[in-house]
């Protein structure tokens, strides 16, 4: 199954109006024009689990650090495309995914995202397209659901999340894919950011 290079997929998502951190294609250190801290990543067709092999370095605090990380990464991954993003502040971490299942057809996954998502497995699925009621149902079906009413200072905006789910449902109808991960998606009081996006066609 071919993995679409992350940078390519992310650029496509920009055009569709999905919110993501500010991103810069990096050839040399002058190319980064964003705020710090920053994250430097390899965009690859073959590497899907980047963190484990050091193909993503986050929390780069200064221009000087950036220069060193870039040098190191160019040495470790010669010839690979590199890009950097402004590092987003943490929000409520969610996973939203799409999959084409041979029996059920196109499904949308929604659940608790981030590093522990596969361990916690607090997820639920709907067939696409979904309507507003289905989207609300997705929130309600998680054990985690009380977080959407605000939990320990994490305030979120349910309406923004529901709109995002509907937008992804709409995307899933108009596009072909085998699997898509948006993981994590950070949800805030006033918006969301898709931090990582992977597409397998």
């Amino acid at each position: 199954m071919p993995v679409v290079p992350e940078l390519e997929f992310k650029t496509m998502l920009d055009k569709m109006g999905f919110h993501q951190p500010k991103r810069f294609l990096i050839n040399d250190r002058e190319d980064y024009k964003g705020e710090f801290p920053s994250v430097l990543k390899v965009s690859s067709e073959t590497i899907t689990h980047k963190t484990e092999i050091g193909a993503v370095v986050g929390d780069i605090k200064t221009r000087q650090d950036f220069k060193e990380v870039l040098k190191d990464m160019k040495r470790k991954f010669p010839g690979e495309t590199l890009y950097a993003e402004e590092m987003a502040k943490k929000g409520v971490e969610l996973i939203i995914g799409l999959i084409k299942d041979p029996m059920f057809g196109k499904l949308l996954l929604f659940g608790v995202g981030g590093f522990y998502s596969e361990l916690i497995r607090d997820v639920t699925f709907k067939r696409v397209p979904i309507d507003r009621y289905d989207a609300e149902d997705l929130l309600g079906e998680l054990k985690f659901n009380r977080v959407f009413d605000g939990y320990r200072g994490h305030k979120v905006n349910k309406e923004i999340l529901i709109d995002l789910l509907l937008k992804i449902s709409d995307f899933s109808i108009k596009n072909e894919f085998s699997q898509i991960d948006f993981n994590p998606v950070f949800l805030y009081e006033d918006g969301y950011l898709i931090i990582d996006a992977k597409l397998v066609v």
Binding site: M1, V3, T48, H49, I95, G97, L98, I99, K100, D101, P102, M103, F104, G105, L107, L109, G111, S117, E118, R121, V123, T124, F125, K126, R127, I130, Y133, D134, D137, L138, E141, S178, Q179, I180, D181, N183, K198, V200
Partner: protein, 462 residues
């Protein structure tokens, strides 16, 4: 497309046998025992079996045949399907295996058989299945032994299964518990009639009030969901889905795929289409029976009534844990209840009538709660171990379940006497469950049903 299973007047058995224990002999025995229509037999040599005349072949039969049961090995079964279809028989059930489940050659035979049948407008259930049970007309094509397995009574639950054996075992257990069935359809290899056809068939039958479905695979997902959406506003559908989906095997590098593979929760997908999901065969039957016997619940406020303090407390904990509200009765209602029950009881919620409870107290308290309109549902534990509570309470519960405004679910806990009485309650249409957790789960099912119906109404009015 629906099939005409409920008005079968004549059944033709091909492959009947005299030999005790043979498939053809067991099926004949079961037909003779209960089938209300005409039984026709085809046998190449015998003139009669068990006092029923045998025809040499299908062509010789002068009557119309509504349904044919074929108990012959695969190649001969194909020929039998052909003769029956040519004769105008509408439903053919080849029960034996030896088809697609055994490889390419079997698949070829299935294709030939299906083409033959559809050419003459006949439908095939199976092959490799136990066929159908329609208690209303006494039709039973299954290989169950009278001595060891209970033939279900006619009732409101329609049951469709991709596993014949699991279906029969479950029917045996729940028939003993008093649950009645409108039908059992074993789909087998599903070369023609599939789960979608079955849903459409049961959807059109007035005797079927709810549908239970055991499925491992769904052949035509869009048609299936469309059929469910069409039927579910009038009949509750419960599904037990066995086996995991295999899409997780592909491209496992992404989280979504591995989460789908490991997730047992297809709940969301079923809910979206008005289907309630069960996670085992007990839930499948409990939910189907409560959907058939009970009324939809339109809110989360539950009144818990019992004669055993601890039962009420655990039920309350379980309910609240699932998002229900077991709130205090108003002062007015509490004083009404207080005047009816023992002074050492509790008129608040959970309402505890203590071991001094009587049939009359149950009746008064339940009616009082209903009148108050303070609750969306009543969970009453009718416990027969004390003196004042007897079988006579069934009459009241039966009529309350029909005419009361506040939906009710009954729980009971106990041994032989309780089981016997519960059975009578269910036979009388009172939704009754044999434990605290099962009665709460049944109540929850009615609440989900209400939620779905409200959504459905909103969707169709907007």
């Amino acid at each position: 497309m629906s099939i005409d299973l409920f008005s079968v007047n004549s059944v033709c058995l091909i492959g009947a046998s005299r030999e005790e224990g043979k498939v053809g002999s067991i099926i004949l025995k079961n037909l003779k025992r209960s089938f209300k229509g005409e039984i026709l037999l085809v046998h190449p040599t015998a003139d009669e079996i068990d006092g029923i005349k045998c025809f040499r072949n299908v062509e010789e039969i002068p009557h119309k045949i509504d349904l044919g049961i074929i108990s012959l090995p695969s190649k001969k079964a194909v020929d039998a399907v052909k003769s029956l279809s040519v004769k105008g028989c509408k439903i053919c059930i080849p029960v034996a295996g030896g088809f697609g489940e055994q490889g390419e050659e079997g698949k070829q035979l299935e294709m030939v058989m299906k083409e033959l049948a559809s050419k003459y407008g006949s439908r095939i259930i199976g092959p490799n299945c136990v066929g159908v049970i329609i208690p209303r007309i006494g039709l039973n094509t299954a290989l169950t032994s009278e001595e060891k397995s209970r033939f279900p009574s006619d009732g409101p639950v329609g049951f469709v299964s991709q596993s014949g054996a699991l279906g029969l075992l479950t029917i045996d257990e729940f028939s003993d518990f008093g649950v009645g069935f409108s039908s059992f359809i074993s789909l087998g290899n599903e070369i023609d009639v599939d789960e979608t056809d079955a849903i459409e068939t049961l959807g059109m039958d007035d005797g079927t009030k709810s549908i239970a479905l055991y499925i491992e695979k769904i052949a035509r997902i869009d048609d299936f969901l469309k059929a469910c959406k069409k039927v579910s506003p009038s009949k509750g559908i419960v599904t037990l889905k066995g086996g995991q989906t295999d899409s997780g095997n592909r491209a496992t590098s992404l989280h979504t795929g591995s989460l789908l593979k490991t997730s047992f929760s297809l709940n969301g997908i079923f809910r979206q289409n008005g289907i309630i999901q069960a996670s085992n065969e007990i839930e499948l039957m409990d939910y189907a029976s409560v959907l058939a016997l009970g009324k939809p619940i339109w809110g989360k406020r539950v009144a818990v009534v019992s004669s055993a303090g601890g039962v009420g407390v655990i039920a309350t904990d379980t309910l609240e844990n699932q998002g229900f509200k077991v709130g205090r009765t108003s002062d007015e209602l509490a004083s009404e209840i207080r005047s009816k029950i023992s002074p050492i009881g509790s008129p608040y919620n959970p309402i505890d009538m203590t071991a001094e409870a009587t049939n009359f107290q149950y009746e008064s308290v339940i009616n009082q709660i209903d009148k108050s309109g303070e609750f969306d549902s009543i969970l009453a534990f009718v416990l027969f171990q004390t003196f004042g509570v007897t079988e006579d309470i069934i009459e009241f519960l039966k009529s309350y379940n029909k005419t009361g405004n506040t939906p009710i679910v009954i729980g009971a806990v106990g041994g032989e006497y309780t089981r016997k009485t519960m059975r009578k309650m269910i036979e009388n249409g009172v939704p009754t469950y044999p434990s605290i957790s099962r009665s709460v789960a049944a109540l929850k099912t009615l609440e989900e049903r209400g939620e779905y119906l409200r959504r459905f109404e909103n969707a169709s009015s907007s």
